[in-house]
Structures are given as C-alpha cells and as structure tokens.
C-alpha cells in the first residue's frame, strides 16, 4: 500500500479587493526589469537591505528587527490599512504611508519614528480612545488588549480628545457562543475580514459610515439569529474586548461549590497545547498533566480525557464509513458519498446554513464532546451508581462553537442535557488563576479512570488532519489486518498532516485481511469488496476552504469522487480554535501542533480500537456494537437544514 499525495492548489482564500492583497514578489518578472532577481533596496531608519519586490514596509522593517506598531494588521488576514497606527514617513511623499499596506516596488527610504510619525500615531491612538468605551479593569481583555498596549507604548497619560463615559450600544449576548460589545470596537475590521475572507461566512460586515460606522450583522439582527457558525475566529483576532466568548465559568464554579453535584470535566486535546500561553509560557508547551492536578485542586470531582470519546468517535464514524462503502460497493444501495466528519460544530453549522443539501453526507456520529456527555450520564452513572441528575458534565474545549453544540436541543440522549457547560481554554485559565494556581508550577498527575487512557489517536484530533489520521490508523488495520506501523513509519500518516488549506490523498488498498474483527463481524462478512479500491480522502480546514471543496463537489470535480473528507471550521484545526488563547498566528498554531504530535508520539496506545476503555465500553454497555441500536440512540445525532436566508 502506498499513499499518494496530490496536494491541492487551494491557497489564497481572500475575497479582499485585489488591490489590498499584497502581491509578494509577483511582479518580479516582466515589469520588474532592472531589478535583478526581483529584489529592491529599502533603507529603513538608515539601514539598507534588499527585499523581494512587493514586500511591505512593515515586513521589510520586521526582517531588520525594526518594530512598527500595528492594530488593524493581522498575519492571517489581508491588508486593510485602516487604523493608521503603522504610518511611517517615506522620503519624497507628502503624506505618511501605512507600513502594513505599502508594497515596496522601487528603491525607498523610510523613517519609522520621526516627530511627525510619532505625533500622528499618538493622535491616532488618542482618537481611538475618544471613541472607545470601557474601563480596562472590568474588561475580559485586560492585560491582553492591543489598544491598551498601544496606549501604554505611546505614553498616553490623558484623554487628549476626550473619551466616552457612558456605553452607547447594547451588548449582543443572543448567541450561545459569541458576545459582541460594540462599545469597545475600534473598527479595525479584523472580525469582518476573518468572517468574510478566512471563513467565507459573512455574518459580520461594516455598515453605516463616518461616525455611524458599525460592525453589523444582516439587518442588525442579533448574532444568535444570523448565519454565524460560532467558530469564534473573530474573537481570536479582535484586538480589544469587543468580541468574546460567552463565559460559563460562573455556572461551573456554582456546580463545583454545590455539594450535591458530581462535577466531571473532560479535556480536549488542544487546550492542553495552548493553555500555557495564558500563563506566560511560549506556545507549544503542553500542560496536560499539570492541568489535571490544577483541575482537581480547583474542585472538579473527576478529570477525564476527551481522547476517550475521540477514539469512540473513530470507531463509530469509521464503522459508518465502512458500512457506507459496503452498501455502495456490494449492496449497490444509494449512499451519500463522500462522508463528511461531524466533530467540528462550526463546520456542522456552516453546512447546515450554506449547503443543507449535503446533510446526508455528514457522519451521524456525534462529536467527541457530545459522545462523552452521553456516556457519562448513562454508562458512567450506572457504573458509579451516581444519579445522572446529580452529575454535571463540563467540557474544556478550544472552541466557542462547542457552547452552541451542547445547547442543541437534540443533545439529550441520556435523558438529561448531555454536556452541561462548555469552557474555553481562556475561561479555564481564568478559573485556574482565580483558584490561586500558577499552572506551570503544578505537579503532574494522570487522568481519572475509567476514561483516562491517553491515546495518540485521540490527541491528534486537535490538529488538522488528525481525525483523518486517527480514522485511517483504525480503518487500515481492520481492513488490511496489518499493523499501521508496517504501512507508515511509526504509524505517522504524514500525508494527511500539515497546514495547507486543503489536502487530497489517495490510498490504494492492495490487499485485505482474511478475517473481520469480531466487533464489527456482524456488519461486514469480509473485506473482499475493498480489494483494489483506491480510497480517496481529503482534509480541509477553515470554512473558506470547506466552501472550495463543497463547490468542487457540486461541480462534480475530484473531491466529489472522495470517500471521506475531514472538515474543520478553524484554520489549523482545533488547535487554532476560537476558544484558544489570544493572539493566534501561523507560528503559534504550528507550535501547538508540534505539542500535539509530540504527545501522540509519546502515547503508549496510538490507535482508537486499542483504547482499553473503548473496548470495555463496547463489551459492557454498547453490546450491539458500533452503529448498533444503543450507540445510535446515544452516540449518533441528526442535523437541521437551516439555509442562509434569514427572515
């Protein structure tokens, strides 16, 4: 068996005006005659260097170690050039230029901190403060606010042009996930560019003009009533407290302090790779075991690993895939292909809004968060003899959409709300701080039984391509009867990993196992139907990329021939989720991914079907097997075609 990577071309997802997308090096040929190798000389504050033609002043300065302050600029987003904080003096130009937006196409002399520049920047910050309402110490972004930092950096010691003393706008807390406070908005439009360019959702856009400019939803409707997919990517890129997640920590504290409640927390893979950032650690330092100790100290009765239910998801979703293949290839029944993953609630709502016709393609398997909730309030309750009504399930997630997901009305298979509260990584960090704990100093401890076995297959759910890799580790072993280690070095299915927007992989199945694992033997008689089949797989992250794949499927392109596609709403997968520490950038996400893959490599069990807790669950509780009657009731769900047209 070999894995053929045919990487897709998807790269630029920006719908920004062509003129606002920096053309890095694109002009190096043709018009660039005279500039050898497309290089151009930039002299910044007296230091000269050659940069590729089209490099912005900001990038050129950064490469020289010269820092230019910014606000509307974000490394994930197209250029805006609207805040004017990054203005610099360019020799020969009457006006100052926005360093973030100015491409260097001819030799240039730049001065980054002349009196004129410093005064203009100071005025810009003074003006922003004259429109900004809020006391820093009552703000969710206190000490992590770019406006606050700029004010400090420029030595703002009074409100030169006044400031807002009363709130002018209502706070929109209609959404389960994202709260908007327009009083704190500085109109940098990072949320708009995120929502339109990175996610292609378009729930947020600027409306009105001049001092009436607002970031608005469609017809100014509450966020909870528009096409917002709750991904929270806008929160991660908001420089101030204008956007934040709906905080559940007060409810969680109340449950912890209620002696009649048994409070269990499941922790997803990505928060442990990111939470250290909230405690001053560099990105990519895993805090898994310190966090376990801290959670117990904070008062949680049990600390479980979402990896358990991630593995459970793989068994259910993998079985569903094999059944779809069997139905299509053997029984010749009409089956929706490709099968889409369903663990990212942002992605699921995206599909429900924009492509409801593809709901049959979504795996009916619940996400790991919801599977865990259902299992805790049934199996775990039985096993421990605790009345499920006294159990409070909390989910630590890197995600704001998980808050919406746990409130979906259909998520009550246990007879109770399966997951009571979703906490983001940021909220948990706050709770840990409130408890007086400095996380990095905590001694290490393991997860609680019975759901404590750490598996690599579960942990990589946090990274883009992780669900696909975990599914393949299980499906390939079941189908071929061979150890994945014999097919891929160290069982690392590298072709599906990485940060490209879309990946496409073909896996020819050249030989099959003569036997079928007892767990699913009642579903499939043998694997002969897969012999000679080339599995076509794809991975897409960021809903703008998801849209590209879905449009390709609609048009009957190569992705329509796929069997299985992993979709993640957030760039980089869950590790880049909307509940993760702020800020985010490609470098930060890469560091978190490394932490996740390191944990996978260090895990004893790296395949979902070898997770002993999962094996035991099927033996003791889900006795009719994956996709069986009990599992269908507890672990599978249905979806709501929402459409994109709002009343």
């Amino acid at each position: 068996m070999s894995a053929e990577i045919r990487q897709d071309v998807v790269g630029d997802t920006s719908r920004a005006p062509v003129s606002q997308i920096p053309k890095l090096g694109k002009k190096a040929t043709g018009e660039a005659a005279g500039y050898i190798g497309g290089q151009v000389s930039a002299t910044i504050d007296g230091h000269e260097l050659k940069v590729p033609l089209g490099t912005t002043i900001l990038e050129a300065a950064k490469s020289m170690g010269i820092r230019i302050p910014t606000l509307c600029h974000h490394p994930d987003l197209c250029v805006a050039g609207v805040c004017r904080v990054c203005v610099v003096e360019v020799e020969g130009q009457r006006t100052l230029q926005a360093a973030c937006a100015y491409p260097i196409t001819a030799p240039i002399k730049v001065y980054t901190h002349t009196q004129k520049v410093r005064r203009a920047r100071r005025h810009v910050v003074d003006l922003l403060l004259s429109e900004h309402y809020g006391e820093c110490y009552t703000c969710v972004r206190n000490n992590n606010c770019e406006l606050q930092s700029l004010a400090k950096e420029f030595g703002v010691d009074f409100f030169r042009f006044g400031h807002v003393t009363e709130p002018r706008f209502e706070i929109d807390s209609s959404s389960y996930s994202v709260i908007r406070d327009p009083n704190k908005c500085v109109l940098c439009r990072r949320c708009v560019r995120t929502c339109i360019d990175v996610q292609e959702v378009g729930a947020l856009e600027a409306s009105g003009r001049s001092i009436g400019t607002r970031i608005s939803t469609y017809l100014d409707k509450p966020l909870g009533e528009v096409v917002c997919i709750n991904c929270g990517q806008c929160i991660n890129r908001c420089p101030t407290g204008a956007l934040h997640a709906k905080d559940a920590s007060d409810d969680v504290w109340r449950a912890i302090e209620d002696p009649t409640k048994h409070v269990v927390i499941q922790t997803a893979p990505s928060p442990r790779a990111g939470i250290g950032e909230c405690f001053g650690l560099p990105p990519g330092v895993p805090m898994t075991f310190q966090m376990n100790t801290a959670l117990r100290l904070a008062g949680f009765d049990k600390v479980f690993d979402t990896n358990f239910s991630a593995d459970l998801t793989i068994i259910e979703e993998g079985t569903e895939l094999l059944l779809r293949l069997y139905k299509a290839l053997v029984a010749k029944e009409p089956v929706a292909f490709p099968q889409f993953t369903s663990c990212s609630p942002g992605w699921v709502k995206f599909l429900e809004h924009f492509y409801p016709e593809y709901i049959p393609n979504l795996s009916s398997a619940k996400s790991p968060q919801q599977m865990f909730g259902a299992v805790i309030k049934t199996y775990y309750a039985q096993k421990t003899g605790i009345d499920p009504k006294d159990i409070v399930t909390v989910a630590l997630m890197p995600c704001s959409a998980k808050k919406f997901e746990c409130n979906r009305p259909e998520m009550d298979a246990s007879g109770f709300k399966d997951v009571d509260y979703g906490l983001t990584t940021r909220e948990l960090a706050q709770m840990i701080k409130e408890a007086g704990i400095h996380l990095p100093d905590m001694p290490k401890s393991d997860f609680d039984d019975p759901f404590g076995t750490r598996t690599g297959s579960g942990v990589i759910f946090g990274a883009m391509g992780g669900v696909m890799e975990a599914a393949l580790r299980t499906v390939l072993e079941l189908v071929t009867g061979k150890k994945v280690e014999n097919l891929f070095e160290n069982a690392n299915i590298v072709p599906v990993r990485g940060f490209d927007g879309v990946r496409y992989v073909e896996l020819p199945v050249t030989e099959v196992s003569p036997t079928v694992e007892p767990l699913i033997a009642h579903l499939v008689p043998n694997w002969d139907f897969l012999k000679g089949v080339t599995l076509k797989l794809a991975v897409a992250h960021g809903t703008a990329n998801a849209k590209k794949v879905l449009e390709d499927i609609k048009a009957g392109g190569p992705f329509s021939k796929c069997h299985f596609i992993e979709f993640m709403a957030c760039p980089g997968g869950c590790l880049g989720g909307g509940g993760q520490p702020i800020p985010t950038s490609p470098e930060i996400r890469a560091a978190r991914a490394k932490a996740i893959y390191d944990e996978d490599a260090a895990s004893e069990v790296r395949k979902s079907h070898e997770n002993p807790a999962v094996v035991e669950l099927y033996r003791e509780f889900l006795t009719d097997g994956p996709c069986g009657h009990v599992s269908h009731r507890l672990l599978h769900t249905h979806y709501t075609p929402r459409g994109k047209y709002i009343d």
């Binding site: 050039g81 006006t95 100052l96 926005a98 100015y102 491409p103 004259s130 109109l187 001049s210």
Partner: protein, 401 residues
Amino acid sequence: MTPVSSKKTPFTFDSIEPESGLKAALGKSRADIIAEISASNLRGRGGAGFPTGTKWNLAAAAKVPPGGRKFVVCNADEGEPGTFKDRVILTEYADLVFEGMTIAGLAIGAADGILYLRGEYLYLRPHLEGVLARRRAANLLGKNVAGRDGFDFDIRIQMGSGAYVCGEETALIESLEGNRGEPRNRPPFPVDTGFDGQPTVVNNVETLAWVACILARSGQWFKSAGTAKSAGFKLFSVSGDCTAPGVYEFPLGVTVQELLDKVGGSGAKAVQIGGASGHCIPASEFSRRIAFEDIATGGSIIVFGPGRDMLTVAKNFMEFFVEESCGQCTPCRAGNARLLEGIEMLERGECSMAYLRELLGLCETMQVASKCGLGQSSPNAFMSILKHFRDEIMGRTAVAH
C-alpha cells in the same frame, strides 16, 4: 424636463467641430495620441491635477493579465459642495465627453468605458443613454469604431448612490464593483490595478471633454492658454454671495479678484476655493492665482459676503465631512468628529486656546495620516478659516481661558 443652463460665459467647447477630435485620434498611433495629450500639459480637472498624459502612459504600458482587459472610467460623481460644472457639461456637451472617453480607450487599449454618474444626476441618464444610442448608431461606439479596424469601444452608465467619497477614484472603483464605497490602499494605483483588478484610467468629466478638444486642435493650442504649470482653460462653478452665480470658463492663472469682478462678487470677505475640501481665501489674498502652482481647485468657488459668520461657514463644512467620511480610517472618521465638536465648543465659548492648538495639531495629522484625499483635505477649511478669521471667531464670544 429641460434643464436650464447655468452657463455664464461662452465655452471653448462651442468652437470645436463635433467628432473632429476623435477623427484626428483615429488617424494617429496610440503613442502619438498620448504624446499629444502630454504635450498639452493637461492636468486632471477633478481637482487633484494629475497630468493626464502620464496617467494614460502608465495605463497604456500596464500589462493585462491573461483574459483581462483595460477600462476607461469617467468620474461623473460630481459631489464637491459648490460644484456643478460637470452637470452642465453632461447636459450640453455629452458628446464631447464620450468622444474623450473613446479617445482614451483608443490610447490605452481599452474596449470598455464606464460613466460613473452621481446618484443625484439620475434625471440625466435618459438623455445620456440617448446620446450613447445615437453614437452607437453612427458607429462612433461599438465594433470597429468609425471604421478603424480592430478598435472596439462601448460605454455603459453606472449610477452612484450619493456618497461623496465615491468621487475618490479607488472608492469609485469599489462602488463600481458592487462593494462599499471605500478608498483602497495606494499603491497599487488604478492604472495598474483598477476596476476588477485591471488597468483602469479614471478621468473627470471635464478632463475628457478637454481631451477631445486637444485632439481636435492640438496640444500646443491648449498649452498656449493658462500659465506655465497650469495649461489651458478651466470651468468654474460659482455660487454664494455674488450677483451672477453660474458656470464660467477662464484660463487657469486667473486671479481671485478677476474672477470675483466677473461674477459680481467684488465686495466679498472671503472665497472658498475648491469646495469643502478646498481653502478659504481672505480678501487680503485675492490677488492670488487660481492655478495648480498657487490655489488648486476642481472648480468650486463659493463667495462669502461681508455679513457671513465664518465660524458658521467652518461648521457647515465640518458637518459635511462628519456626514461624508467613509468611516474606514481613524484620522478621518474620528478626527472630523472632534473638529466639529471643537467648532461647537468655539460657538459656546468653551474652547480653550490650548485645546484649539491640540485641534490644529490634529488637523496636521489628518492631512498626512488619513487614508485618502477626503481625510487629507477635510481639515483645510477649518485650518484656513481659523488662520484668517481667528480674531472674528475668538471675538464673537468670550473665550474660556
């Protein structure tokens, strides 16, 4: 409806034989057409005064991406307060404008012309569509224009929706594309990356009319009028405290006083030149010339008689900018609002000298740090009025400190 002409002087346009400019252009190479325009020293009549020949050269030289095409856009979003000369041109000399656009298309290698018409000029559209239809019927538009093989050019009209900022060429292009009318970052410039990302020339209505005249006569002829740095003739929209408001043609370089004498505004206290975004000139400076090297203007002249309260004048302009800023960049969005508040404080006698100095400092920041010409020029009126009429303004009420 027959619009009443506000023409107060004969226009040079009247002496140009119809289509003679286009005919002359059709007999020339593209390079020669642009050379003729460059030789005329024609500079943009919208106000910014960019040399038209240079603009065309850049667009003509711009590489078109595969499958792409170039565009000629006529900026008829005449929105500067006090300007109405483009309305007169479009009403009475539409052929000349379309002729100019066709010449521009020929010169830069564009097949598509778009007239971006101010929303309030909707009533002109049937008339303009009629002119276009007539030109198509006469093969002055369409395939192989006027028999020149391979030169296809047609013009469509797209309406604006009343935003002042859409007169800024990149905001205009955003609006043409169906987006919010907000200025883009420059560079890249429209001649390289304009409408639909394609090389685009955006010229003012009057500029294009003069293009046709220059091709009909010659660059040399045009240059013989005006001053060394400001060639040719210019239309002026005159309004305010004068006995004969209307549209006038003068060669550039005319002094403010000469103009005032012609329009019946001799006793004026001040003149606003260039509209809300222009400068307020006091009587002591009426000997200055209206020309790119002295006082540049797109043609708006507003006369203020001796009885005018200059703070009210300034307030009127600032209210306009607080209404019309696109709201995108900080200096313009928040800066104009703070300036207007400052004027209101002055009205109430609550503005300290210290705060006034802060506001004048803010004006300088707005001039250099705003993203587009709107915010860069919006403090001009405030600054020039406070400079020239400080005694009047400070004397009208008691100053707080």
